[in-house]
Symmetry: C2
Subunit: 650 residues, 2 copies
C-alpha cells in the first residue's frame, strides 16, 4: 500500500550514532529555484523517458525472458539489470517527492516483472543466468557483476519501501540478500565482488530491517578485500578492482574510480554502524587525500580513460580527464555518509561542489542527454572515436548506461541532502529553495523553515521559521570556504555561535516568522593548481560562488580563439548577459561572466620553438564564460576551463 | 647460398625515380662510436635473446603446431607470427652487417620451420588457421591480422634475400603474396586490412621481383581504404583503422598511430612507384601536419592509451602520452621514404630526432628490456595497472610484443639510413662513425668516405675521403636546423654550395685523403610549445644537439624534488659529469647537463587555491639532466621532460 501523501525519505539512515541525522520522510521538499527546475526536468523528461530508454535497450525484455514469459536472447551486458534498479530507485524517490501516479504505475509494473524473474532460491540476474547458465552462478565474481546488481536491487527496494510504502521490491531484495548472506561468509564461500556496491546496500538493508546478518555479510566482503581473492580467481591486476590493499589500510584511492568510491562509501557505512572511530578517521583521511591529489578542479574523479581509473597523484589532464559522471555521484554518496558521521561542513561543501560541477555537467539542461565523461577541455579538430567522447556531444543513452539512471536517482532524492537534524535543531547544508523540518510536530518539538533563494545565481538566502519548538533549539547554516565577508542578518533574540568550522549556528528560542538572511559574496575568483598539477601550470580557472566556469568558443566574438588566449586575472571580472541561445533553454538563472584576456600568437612556425621565441602576447579580448555544467547544451565545440594566466606585471 | 662477405642491404629500394637512392648492399657500415655500441648491444643481447623470448612466448612452437610436427594449442595472440618475422628481418640485417654465423644458423632453422608451416595454397598464419579454422580465412580482415602478418613475412623475406642471399623465406613470401594478389582485387574479393603493413611490403616485393601485380594489389588496398569496407564487415568505428577518409584525401593522421603511419609509408611508396607528384605532395603535407600538431617534443606519436591513438591537434599530455615505440619506428620508415623521394634534409632531421628521442627510449642501454609506451613524465606515487606502464619499469618482453623486434630490425639496418647516393655523389644524413660509399668501384666511379665522430656527445664530425671518382662529384652534409653557427672546414679545391635547405654541399674533384670537418655547435637550448599545446604552457624542455634531456629524481641532491621545480632558462646550462651509475652501463659517451632551477612551494593547503596564493618561488637548486633516451636504466622513478619556466624578469 502506498501512503496517500508524497514523502521523500532518506536514502541513508544510519542506525549507529552520528553527528547529524537525515531528516525523516516527507520533511524535506524543494519547491523551486535552481534545483526545483532541475528536479522538474528530471521528472518530466528523464524519468519518464528512462522507461522508454530501458525498453529500447532491451533491459525490460531481459526480465520477461528470465521470467519465461518471452522467448529470445537477453542483451549481452552482464550488469544490465542494474540500470533497471537504478531507474526504479529514482522513480521511488520521485513518487516520494511528487506522488506522480504515472510513475507509480510504472513502478508496480516493473516490480512485478522483477519478482517474476527471480529464481526460487532468491537468486536474480537475468543476463547471467540466461547467458552463462545457473550452474555458473558466483563462479566469476571478478567480471560478472552479480553482487553489483544485487546491491542496486537492494538500494532500489529500500527507496521504494521508504518513499512509497510498497513492499514488492523489498521482498525480492531480502530474498536475494538472504541467499547472499548464507552463500558468502566464514561459514560459506569466500569472495570479493569485482565491482563494489553490495557493501553499502547490505549495510542499508540492515538499517532498514534490523537484521544484523546483512551487516555481517557487508563486513565479510569489506574485510576479505585486498587479500588477493580476485587475483586468485582470475589472475587480474588487483589495482583496477581496489583489491591491492586491505580496505582499512588504504591511504589513496586507486584503480577504477566508481569501484573505489562506492567501496569507500560502504566502508564508511560500516565504520558508522560498528562505531569504529579509527576506521572512520582513516576514511576521512582517504577522502581528503582524494580531493587534494586526485580530483579535478570540477571535483571530477578519474584521470584515465583506460580502466576509467584514478591516476597518480596530481595526474589531472584537462583534455582527457575521464571524470565519469558516476564517480562524482559516488563521491556525493561517500561525502554524505562522512557528513552524517562527523557533522563537518567540509563534506557538505564537497557535496555542493560535486553536484554543481561534476554531476550536473553529466546531464543536459533539458534532461534528455548525457555525458559519461566530463573533461575540462575539448579542442577544435577533435576526432571522435568513442560514443563516450564529449567531443561527439551529449548522448541520449549509452551501451553501458550506468550514468543516466545514476543522475536520475541523485536528482530525485536531492532534497534529502539539503538539511539534517542536529542535536537540538536543524542544519542547512545546501541552499535550495524549499521547506525543511526536523523534530516531532506531534509533541510540539518541530523546527521548520522555508528557504527562498536564487542561489547559485545570487548569494542571498532567506530562511523563515514556519514552526518552532517551545524549547531552545539551533539552526546551523553552512558558510562555504570561499564566502569570507559573508553577512548574516538574524533576529536579536538568537545567539550566534562560532563559525570557524565552515558554518554559523544560531541558538535560542525560535518563533514562527523569525527571518534569517545569509548574504554570500558572489565575487568571481580565479584559482590555480598545486605546483605538482603540471597540466594546469601557469593557468587559472574561474569560479563564482560554487560554480566553476568555462569558455565555449561559440560565445566569443569573431576572431577570438579560446585555444590561443591568456587571461588577465588581475583585471576585474564582470557579470554579463547570458547568451540568449543558452537562456532560451530550461536553464534556470544562469550567470555569465566577462573577463579580460589577450590573444597568444606562436613565436615561430616550429612546433617547439626556442625559448627566445616563446608565444607572443597579442591584442586584448573580452571573453565570455558560462557555468561549466551548462556547456555543450547548444553546439558541441571547443571548450576549456583552464586558461594560461598573465600576471599584472607582464 | 649466402655470400661470404657481410653486406647490409637497403630495406627500401625504390624502382621509380627518386631524389636520393639508397646505398647498395655492403656500402654502408657503422664501425663504432655511439651507434656502433648500440648495434653491438643489439646483436649480442637483443637478437640472440630474441630467439629465446620467441621460444618462451610460444611463437616458435606455433610454427611446429601449424606444420603438424607438434601437437598442442597455439598461443591466442592472432598476430604472433609477425613477431617471428620481425625478428627474422632483424637477423637478416645483422647477418648482412656482421656475418654472424650463429644468427645465420638460427635464420635457416626458423625459415625451414616457417616453410613447413605454410599451406599448400600458399596461405600462412599459424594462429588463425589453428584457432579459427581454414574455412574462416579472410573472413575478418578487421581483427585477424592475416595481411599484417603477411606484410611482415614479405619484409623479412626481402631482407633475408638482399642481405644474406638466402631465398628460403622469399619463396614462402612470394607464394603467399601470389595467393593474396589473386584473392584480392577488382577480379577477386574486396577487402581493407585492419592493420596496414601489407601495402609497403607488397610495393617492396614489386621492387625486389619486378612483378607489377604486387604493386597493383598494394594499390587496390590503398584505394579501397576510406570507403567503409571495414565498417561494412564488422560495424567498427573507422577512425581507429585510418578508414574514415580515403588515403589520398587525408589531411591529418588519426586513430591507432602505428596503423596510420604504416599506412602513410605504404601510400608514399605507391606515390613513388606511380610517379604521382600530387599524391607525394599530399603525403608531405600529411607528415608536416603530424609533426606540427600531433608529435610530442620527443617526436613520439600517439597521444592516447585508449586505442593507442592520435588525439586532437595539440592534445599532447606529458604524463599519459602513449608514444608507442613502434609508432616512432613507423615514422622513421615514412620519413625515410619521403627523404628518398624528395631529398629534403627536413626528413633526415626528423629521422635523427625520432631515432634518438622516440625509438631509443624504447630499449634499455643493455639491449635486454623495453618500453612499449614512452611518456615524457612519470610521477611519484604512480600505481602500475598495466605491464606497458613505464612507471613499472622496462620489461623483457610483452604479451603484445610488437615493439622489441621492431627496435631490433631498426637498429640492425641503421647503417642504411646514414647516407644515400645523390645524382653525382654521396649525401650524409646522419652522423655515425663508419664507412659509406656510392658509385661503382669497378668503373672507378666510387666516392667513399670514413666518418669519425663522438656525435651526439660531441659536435665534431670528421669525414675523410678514402676513394674518389676521377670526375667531379658532390658530397652533401646535413646541417641540423638547431646548428646555426656551425663551422665547415673543407679543402680549398672543393666548392661549397648554398646550405639554406638544411644541408651544405661540397662539389669538385675529390681525392683520397681529402678531409672535411663539420663542427656543430652543441649549445644546450630550451624550447617551448605552441600556444595550443596546453599541457606544456609556461614550461620548457631542454635539448643539446639532437638529444632531448630529462630529469630523473635519482640524480638530484637530497631535498630537491623534481616535481616541484621551476627552471631558469635564462641562466647558463653547463655540461656536468655523467652520474657514475649511468656511465657504468653500456651507454656510450652520455652527456649530462646541470641547470639552474628554483623550488616551488604550494601557496596554500587547498588543492586549488586562489590566484593570490599561487605557488611560491623558493630557493635555488642546481638540477641534473640526462638524455631522455637513457632514463629508467637504473631505478625507475619520477622523471620529467617539461619543467615550468621562470623568465629572468621574475
Amino acid at each position: 500500500m502506498t501512503d496517500t501523501d508524497p514523502h521523500l525519505a532518506p536514502p541513508v539512515r544510519p542506525a549507529g550514532p552520528t553527528a547529524q541525522r537525515p531528516l525523516p520522510a516527507g520533511a524535506a521538499t524543494i519547491t523551486g529555484g535552481f534545483w526545483g527546475e532541475r528536479l522538474e526536468t528530471n521528472r518530466t523528461h528523464a524519468l519518464l523517458g528512462g522507461y522508454d530508454r530501458l525498453e529500447e535497450a532491451g533491459m525490460l525484455r531481459n526480465l520477461h525472458i528470465a521470467a519465461g514469459t518471452v522467448d529470445g536472447e537477453v542483451t549481452p551486458l552482464i550488469f544490465a539489470d542494474s540500470d533497471v534498479y537504478k531507474w526504479l530507485e529514482a522513480v521511488a524517490y520521485e513518487i516520494g517527492r511528487t506522488g506522480d501516479e504515472q510513475l507509480l504505475a510504472l513502478q508496480r509494473r516493473v516490480t512485478a516483472w522483477i519478482a517474476a524473474a527471480q529464481s526460487e532460491d532468491g537468486y536474480l540476474n537475468t543476463v547471467h543466468d540466461q547467458r552463462l547458465g545457473t550452474d555458473r552462478r558466483w563462479s566469476n565474481l571478478t567480471d560478472n557483476h552479480e553482487l553489483y546488481c544485487a546491491g542496486h536491487l537492494i538500494q532500489a527496494a529500500i527507496a521504494q519501501h521508504r518513499c512509497t510504502g510498497d513492499t514488492g521490491l523489498l521482498e525480492v531484495a531480502t530474498r536475494f540478500a538472504d541467499l547472499i548472506a548464507t552463500t558468502f561468509g566464514p561459514e560459506g564461500r569466500d569472495g570479493t565482488p569485482g565491482h563494489p556496491e553490495i557493501e553499502m546496500a547490505l549495510v542499508e538493508l540492515f538499517r532498514e530491517t534490523g537484521e544484523r546478518r546483512y551487516l555481517a555479510t557487508a563486513e565479510f566482503f569489506l574485510d576479505r578485500r585486498g587479500h588477493g581473492v580476485l587475483h586468485a580467481e582470475r589472475g587480474v591486476n588487483p589495482t583496477y578492482y581496489s583489491d591491492r590493499v586491505p580496505v582499512r589500510e588504504t591511504t589513496s584511492v586507486e584503480g577504477h574510480a566508481v569501484r573505489a568510491v562506492y567501496l569507500a562509501a560502504g566502508a564508511t557505512d560500516r565504520a558508522i554502524e560498528t562505531e569504529d572511530a579509527g576506521h572512520l578517521a582513516q576514511q576521512e583521511a582517504l577522502f581528503e587525500d582524494m580531493m587534494r591529489t586526485k580530483a579535478f578542479v570540477s571535483g571530477g574523479l578519474g584521470s584515465r580513460w583506460e580502466g576509467e581509473s584514478f591516476g597518480a597523484p596530481y595526474e589531472l589532464p584537462t583534455d582527457r580527464g575521464y571524470a565519469e559522471t558516476c564517480a562524482a555521484i559516488a563521491a556525493v554518496q561517500w561525502a554524505w555518509r562522512l557528513l552524517l558521521a562527523t557533522g563537518r561542513p567540509r563534506y557538505a561543501e564537497a557535496i555542493e561542489h560535486l553536484l554543481y560541477n561534476a554531476v550536473l555537467p553529466g546531464v543536459s539542461l533539458d534532461g534528455t542527454a548525457y555525458f559519461y565523461v566530463n573533461p575540462l577541455q575539448v579542442r577544435s579538430g577533435a576526432v571522435v572515436g568513442d560514443p563516450r567522447d564529449p567531443a561527439g556531444g551529449r548522448q541520449g543513452w549509452f551501451d553501458c548506461a550506468c550514468c543516466p539512471p545514476n543522475v536520475m536517482r541523485t536528482l530525485a532524492s536531492l532534497a534529502q541532502y539539503v538539511a539534517t537534524a542536529e542535536e537540538q535543531g536543524l542544519s542547512l547544508h545546501q541552499y535550495a529553495q524549499g521547506s525543511y523540518r526536523c523534530g516531532d510536530p506531534g509533541s510540539g518539538g518541530e523546527l521548520a523553515v522555508d528557504v527562498v533563494t536564487d542561489y547559485p545565481a545570487d548569494g542571498r538566502i532567506e530562511v523563515t521559521v514556519t514552526a518552532a519548538p517551545s524549547a531552545p533549539a539551533s539552526l546551523t547554516l553552512r558558510v562555504p570556504s570561499w564566502a569570507s565577508g559573508y553577512v548574516l542578518d538574524a533576529p536579536g533574540h538568537l545567539e550566534r555561535a562560532d563559525d570557524t568550522a565552515g558554518a554559523v549556528q544560531l541558538r535560542g528560542t525560535f518563533a514562527p516568522g523569525d527571518r534569517i538572511v545569509l548574504e554570500l559574496p558572489m565575487t568571481a575568483r580565479f584559482v590555480v593548481g598545486h605546483p605538482r598539477n603540471d597540466a594546469v601550470a601557469g593557468s587559472v580557472a574561474l569560479f563564482r560562488g560554487p560554480l566553476l566556469f568555462a569558455l565555449e568558443q561559440q560565445d566569443q566574438a569573431p576572431g577570438t580563439d579560446i585555444e590561443q588566449l591568456a587571461v588577465l586575472p588581475d583585471q576585474p571580472v564582470r557579470l554579463a548577459p547570458t547568451p540568449t541561445t543558452l537562456s532560451a533553454l530550461p536553464s534556470g538563472a544562469l550567470p555569465a561572466l566577462s573577463l579580460s584576456a589577450r590573444h597568444l600568437h606562436p613565436g615561430s612556425a616550429e612546433p617547439y620553438p626556442a625559448w627566445g621565441t616563446a608565444p607572443q602576447v597579442g591584442e586584448q579580448a573580452d571573453v565570455l564564460a558560462i557555468p561549466y555544467f551548462a556547456w555543450a547544451n547548444r553546439a558541441t565545440g571547443p571548450m576549456r576551463v583552464w586558461i594560461p594566466a598573465l600576471p599584472a606585471t607582464t
